[in-house]
């Protein structure tokens, strides 16, 4: 009997098997998607091997992320997959220097020369193959089509590459703005490459001969091209082996060959796999419905909330059109005077909302009764501006208001609305007939509708069928309530433990609800939500999701039958109201004739209006009109304002840059100061200190995305906040400027603020210089000074600085004088900002403007961090001041936290002050990943809400998607003017 080696690689989405002989010659290989039926697929392949090699026996080893559990249960040897790849490379491609392997959900890199090192993506760096799948779904095309499209691209856009959820937030607006699909496709691949280079290599250079492995890299030419182009590889250096898809299985076979296991027949192995008992530690929940009867009752109860219908072909009279151009879907409704539904449409926008809506409008024009008069129209959603200008829609309406209007139609005394759509979760509390608070999902937790859809497709089902399967699942699995990436691995684990597709479907529904309630709404008790709850959004059409929600909150809710159309319905109601108010008789909507000839072109340009250099997308319509997007302020749209809206952010940024213009006459040397983190407040202090001593001061300059990429390769922790990550680019810039040394003090403590428990910096601000020193090989004891400073103690500062600058032999007297000058400059700067704040408040009041306290940290002044949000606010006509400019006028309210951080304690006082000013509201800026804000946000919210103020939080990260911020700010504005 011949003995062969058999390797089985069970990945997150596929099963691969390889049979080879003792010379590593592959005799048989197979690659198959397992659609979560791991055991069945492995058995099937073993069966085929048995047929092909009836007289052989095998040494077998299993590998792969989903293989671990099965191998344990079946008592088959297991080899970690990166290690398996390593073995195969050493045997087949000894010339390789580096191996990059992308799998369904893992990304791996192996450095072979210059110290062997094997790395895998961390738990947050999420999907790769799955990521590409998700992105293809988002574009409404197959992965192959995506690949083809990418090869035709002419440019790429920056897309956040850290995690699929982030990337989505970047891609969606691009699509909605009409960016070419080819370019988006190429950008997606580029993001995967960036993630590999930045997230995996983490500072180690990828060079020499590179072997590319894994499914995506063997099937997708566009992805290959992206890697080759980015890493600047010659054709000889980039090795794409034919056996790449099964390469790890081969490694596993080689491992088996070296093992001392006794060989077994394929039948014996088959028996072992089939006899494998899954570990029974899977946590399951209750069944959703105990019986068909219970389900029928449930359906009947919800049926009651339906609209009446009217026939588009026969109806005569006025009608109102509402359009909701959402992030992934497009919704249209046409209603009669008395709210009957004439027409409705709900479908994916396939990345081209304008085309979809134009097509549907054509259909309405064609089908409608000639005597039906579209009297007025309104549009809402992400694509509001585009659709409004493209199709001459009469009105635009904020999403939140549209949803509130629609919900009130079904439930006039509604207290709470929750809308789960394709990409967003939106919740509003209603108090006294107005929207009282808004909760939106943050960039990281978009576990929404499209998430179930992507899962359904991955498992080979269509969404309706998949969600229906969950209704009568025997043991719905508990999958946790975190972000998509985490849920992916939870599902993987559940499958490993033997959960059925039905159980997973039900579990996913429940996860979505838990995510919404605990992560987005953050409700502690049902009573917080109120009595009358309306649920809506396409996702709630899924009965399993609806059932989970009712179950979780323990009461019945109202789900209108047009749940997915509520935004559009609200817009239609708004159109009706507007027509009445303004006495409008006919809608200005694009005419059937113009619609027939409707077309548009889009192109990208850089705005030169200011230093932000926004990337603009300009769409020209066939009627000569144009639409600009991507701009943060009105300048990009070509609009000139007569008077500038007062903005303390702009003033502060400008004055910081002015301060450093002053340089000493005599030069002792040049010091480089990185304009990051604490320097956004202490730049005047250190500038004065060094210039007084005769050092020229060079700053790293303003951040931009380019600067971020420049330093990306030295970032050791990919989950640290963006303001910290940016620092790496600043250090790089200073090193290029050839300064004598870079100065960046470590500061456990910051300036003491009144009425606090302590005055720490956060750990990141306090010690980032230490991290920089340890991770940048260009820094040394000579060119990087990072003494420990306590700014509250001048004597300590003098002592520490004298020591740090020992090389320059400066007397204690001189240092002390410089420190005095430094503190004077710091005081002057603070006073100036406060004075300016006062001035802005006075000016705003004189002009009748409302005022927003945009409260964050000093470093939120960085335009690459705040993404120009302050400009967005001023473009709405509101004046902007900062938290530290108003904090001194407030007093410390009673707190329920340990108030020990300097920057954060200002938030509390600023919030308290805002509660005393009728024309002010506070908007809190929160950097993604800021753990401390998990504590401050709740506290700021409760200070504001206890005095009837609105709480608005804007979460910001490297992604540059102002859509969500805009909705929040416009909703805030709507609530303020009510």
């Amino acid at each position: 009997m011949r003995t062969y080696s058999l390797g089985i690689d069970v990945g997150s989405t596929t099963v691969k098997t390889v049979v080879c002989d003792e010379n590593a010659k592959i005799l048989h290989s197979a690659y198959q998607r397992h659609f979560s039926k791991v055991k069945e697929t492995v058995s099937e392949q073993l069966h085929r091997i048995q047929e092909k090699f009836p007289d052989a026996q095998f040494r077998c080893a299993m590998t792969g992320s989903a293989g671990l559990g099965l191998a344990n249960a079946a008592k088959i040897s297991f080899v970690q997959e990166v290690h398996a790849a390593f073995l195969a490379v050493k045997t087949c491609f000894p010339q390789a220097d580096t191996v990059i392997e992308l799998g369904g959900e893992d990304a791996k890199i192996i450095f072979l020369t210059g110290g062997v090192e094997q790395r895998m993506n961390g738990s947050c760096a999420g999907g790769t193959g799955a990521f590409i799948d998700q992105m293809a779904t988002l574009l409404g095309i197959t992965v192959d089509e995506l690949d083809e499209a990418a090869l035709r691209a002419t440019r790429t856009y920056p897309i956040a590459s850290r995690c699929g959820v982030f990337a989505k937030s970047d891609i969606q607006p691009l699509l909605n703005q009409g960016a070419a699909r080819e370019d988006v496709a190429a950008s997606i691949f580029r993001a995967v490459v960036d993630q590999t280079v930045a997230g995996l290599a983490q500072g180690r250079e990828i060079k020499g001969n590179i072997l590319f492995l894994g499914g995506p890299l063997s099937f997708q030419k566009g992805l290959r091209k992206a890697f080759v182009d980015t890493l600047k590889l010659t054709p000889e250096q980039a090795i794409f082996p034919d056996e790449a898809p099964v390469f790890v299985a081969l490694g596993s076979a080689l491992y088996a060959d070296q093992s001392k296991d006794s060989p077994k027949t394929a039948q014996a192995l088959l028996d072992m796999v089939q006899g494998a008992k899954a570990a029974a530690d899977v946590v399951t929940g209750e069944k959703l419905f105990r019986s068909q009867k219970e389900y029928d009752e449930f359906v009947a109860r919800h049926k009651r909330c339906d609209l009446q219908y009217a026939d588009l072909r026969t109806y005569e009279g006025d009608a109102y059109l509402g359009i909701d151009s959402g992030s992934t879907t497009t919704k249209l409704v046409l209603i009669t005077e008395d709210g009957r539904l004439l027409y409705s449409h709900y479908a994916s926008n396939e990345g081209q909302p304008l085309d979809r809506i134009a097509a549907k409008l054509k259909q309405i024009y064609k089908d409608k009764n000639p005597n039906l008069n579209i009297r007025c129209s309104a549009v809402t959603g992400y694509g509001e501006d585009l659709i409004k200008s493209g199709l001459s829609v009469d009105h635009g309406i904020v999403e939140t208001v549209a949803h509130f209007k629609a919900a009130s139609f079904f439930c006039p005394d509604v207290d709470f609305i929750i809308d789960i759509g394709g990409q967003d979760i939106k919740c509003f509390k209603i108090k006294n007939g107005t929207i009282d608070s808004i909760m939106l999902n943050e960039a990281c937790s978009s576990g929404c509708g499209s998430f179930i859809q992507t899962f359904a497709m991955a498992m080979g089902y269509d969404i309706a069928e998949f969600s229906q399967m969950g209704l009568f699942a025997e043991h719905p699995v508990e999958l946790g309530s975190r972000c998509t990436v985490f849920m992916n691995s939870s599902v993987k684990q559940a499958q490993k433990d033997g959960a059925t597709v039905e159980d997973i479907s039900a579990g996913l529904s429940s996860s979505i609800i838990k995510n919404a309630i605990y992560k987005v709404i953050r409700a502690r008790s049902v009573d917080e939500l109120g009595k009358n709850i309306v649920v809506q959004g396409g996702t709630f059409l899924n009965d399993a999701v609806l059932r989970c929600f009712e179950r979780e909150i323990g009461r019945h809710v109202i789900r209108p039958a047009i749940s997915g159309l509520m935004g559009a319905f609200g817009a239609a109601i708004y159109a009706k109201e507007q027509a009445k108010t303004h006495g409008q008789e006919h809608s200005g909507l694009i005419s059937p004739e113009n619609l027939a000839n409707f077309s548009y072109t889009s192109k990208n340009v850089r705005c030169g209006g200011c230093t932000a250099n926004c990337s603009l997308n300009i769409i020209k319509f066939s009627d000569g009109g144009r639409f600009v997007s991507g701009n943060r302020c009105e300048r990009g749209a070509g609009i000139q304002r007569e008077t500038a809206v007062p903005d303390l952010y702009a003033y502060k940024a400008e004055s910081l840059l002015q301060i450093v213009k002053k340089q000493p006459s005599v030069k002792r040397g040049t010091v480089g100061l990185p304009l990051v983190l604490s320097f956004y407040e202490q730049l005047p202090l250190w500038h004065a200190f060094f210039t007084k001593l005769g050092f020229a001061v060079e700053i790293s300059g303003e951040s931009d995305r380019k600067m971020y990429f420049k330093g990306q390769h030295t970032i050791p922790s990919d989950t640290v906040c963006y303001p910290a990550k940016l620092a790496h680019g600043h250090i790089e810039t200073l090193l290029e400027k050839n300064v004598d040394f870079i100065f960046w003090p470590c500061m456990t403590f910051n300036f003491a603020e009144p009425d606090t428990d302590n005055h720490f910096n956060c750990p990141v601000v306090a010690y980032y210089p230490e991290l920089m020193r340890a991770n940048h090989s260009g820094l040394n004891a000579d060119n990087f000074l990072y003494p420990y400073i306590d700014v509250n103690d001048r004597r300590q500062v003098v002592k520490a600085m004298k020591k740090a600058l020992a090389k320059y032999n400066i007397s204690g007297r001189q240092i002390a004088d410089a420190v005095d000058a430094a503190y004077a400059a710091h005081e002057a700067y603070r006073e100036d900002i406060q004075k300016k704040g006062q001035e802005i408040i006075r000016q705003a009041r004189a002009e009748g403007r409302k005022i927003i306290v945009l409260a964050g940290r000093p470093y939120h002044l960085d335009k690459e961090i705040n993404h120009g949000l302050h400009k967005l606010i001023t473009s709405l006509g509101l004046a902007v001041v900062t938290e530290e400019s108003v904090a001194p006028m407030g007093h410390m309210p009673e707190l329920h936290v340990y108030n020990q951080w300097t920057y954060h304690s200002r938030l509390y006082r600023a919030a308290q002050y805002v509660t005393t000013q009728p024309d002010m509201q506070l908007v809190q800026l929160v950097s993604f990943g800021c753990g401390i804000d998990a504590i401050t946000t709740d506290e700021v919210r409760s200070i504001l809400e206890s005095h009837g103020k609105l709480y608005t939080q804007l979460k910001i990260d490297e992604i540059n998607n102002l859509g969500a911020a805009k909705i929040r700010l416009r909703s805030l504005l709507a609530a303020m003017t009510k």
Partner: protein, 418 residues
């Protein structure tokens, strides 16, 4: 019973409650905490360490604290809420205890988060802050430890450290399954009894007996891969926090090496002295911190000497050496969270031949950006053979992903062993 409220509006643990209330403590170090509560018991406090570990713990945590809060807070508060709701306790007769360091990381706020969580459902339950720097001072505070009581508790921790060290070195190699655990349990009981006598300060005598007893356990001589565990204090030690990491490593045929709690205590005391050095922050507690620091250092040195002479077990690291060598890559001023201790322990482990190190951390832990992920590169540069992996713990992180990454590290370890 009347509830007395402090000036912050939360109930106080009054001296009277000492008699009536059971104090619940979240699980972190099984051996240490069992000994600790027996010491507290001697002083009249009825304490209980919570052992609930079901999924409900995580769910309660998710419900009751902000999702972006660190995992340790989520688990501790989850354990408390789950326990209070379990019906096992009379909720009018329990108090809860959490440690508070007053440092610059979020941990100082756990206690406030817990109070917020209790506010709606269990407003009557008092929360006690376990700290040594005078936080939460109140004349009606019924939790008080005198200096001799504190000293006794600390001795208890030293004995627990020794037991943990010996137990970890034995159980992965024991030939008779369960023999180490049996001996450990016997010794825990003996230590508890010992701490009731005046003889407890005679550590040397009892250390020798422990060493002799554990040396008698039959152990396999097949070399095992040693894996050091460092990281954020809660997930490093707590089996609930790290998905029973030590058990997993043993099932993989490895020997887990967990640095002692004393190292953390020394680190804490050392920081108090560093703050004096760097910032001149001299307080009236400074001499006491210095006294404790010197004393413990002395004790540690003696223990190391004792173990070396005994010859059967690997002694703990020399703290002063650890502190001196870490300064090659990080300043001692980094003292939020576990601060410089994490890279120091990584370095010390690798230096003593334990090249495989798992750094456990709660997902998104702020100090760990700097001191764990941020220092791995520097540690690796100093010790090219170091095989360090960072594992994130989080309610959403799955065991399969964590174990797969650990397996990768172990594959590297085996490969380099040849």
């Amino acid at each position: 019973m009347d509830i007395e409220l402090g000036k912050d509006g939360y109930p106080i643990f009054t001296p009277e409650m000492k008699k009536t209330h059971t104090i619940l403590i979240p699980m972190m170090l099984p051996i240490h905490f069992e000994i600790l509560i027996s010491v507290f018991g001697q002083y009249g406090y009825k304490c209980e360490v919570m052992k609930n570990e079901s999924r409900a713990v995580v769910d309660e945590g998710l419900k009751n604290v902000h999702n972006d809060t660190c995992y340790p807070a989520l688990l501790c508060i989850g354990q408390f809420m789950d326990a209070l709701k379990s019906g096992k306790y009379d909720v009018n007769k329990v108090a809860l205890m959490l440690p508070q360091t007053g440092g610059g990381c979020r941990a100082s706020n756990y206690i406030y988060l817990l109070r917020k969580a209790l506010k709606d459902t269990f407003p009557q339950v008092p929360v006690i802050s376990l700290n040594f720097i005078g936080l939460e001072k109140n004349p009606r505070n019924g939790w008080h430890m005198s200096m001799p009581e504190l000293v006794k508790a600390l001795y208890g921790m030293m004995y627990a450290d020794m037991l943990m060290t010996l137990y970890n070195q034995c159980r992965s190699a024991e030939l008779i399954k369960g023999s180490s655990k049996k001996l450990l349990d016997r010794w825990i009981r003996r230590v508890i009894t010992l701490l009731k006598t005046k003889d407890f300060m005679n550590t040397k005598k009892y250390y020798v007996r422990m060493l002799d007893d554990f040396a008698k356990i039959e152990r396999s001589s097949v070399p095992r891969i040693k894996v050091g565990i460092v990281g954020e204090i809660y997930v490093k030690f707590s089996p609930l926090g790290n998905n029973h990491l030590e058990d997993f490593l043993i099932s993989e045929g490895c020997e887990p090496v967990v640095p002692s709690l004393m190292e953390f205590i020394l680190y804490y005391l050392s920081n108090k002295l560093t703050d004096v050095e760097i910032y001149g922050k001299h307080t009236k507690l400074t001499p006491i911190f210095r006294m404790f620091y010197k004393n413990f250092l002395k004790q540690e040195k003696e223990t190391i000497k004792l173990m070396e002479q005994h010859g059967h077990f690997t002694p703990p690291h020399d703290f002063e050496h650890l502190k001196a060598s870490v300064q090659q890559y990080i300043g001692l001023g980094v003292n939020m969270g576990e601060g410089w201790l994490i890279p120091a322990e990584m370095g010390a482990l690798v230096e003593s031949g334990i090249e495989n190190v798992i750094c456990t951390q709660p997902f998104g832990c702020l100090p760990n950006h700097i001191i764990a992920k941020g220092m791995s590169r520097a540690v690796k540069e100093h010790y090219p053979n170091a095989n360090i992996i960072a594992i994130d713990y989080d309610p959403g992180a799955t065991r399969v992903n964590q174990e797969n990454r650990i397996k990768l590290m172990l594959a590297n370890a085996r490969a380099s062993q040849g």
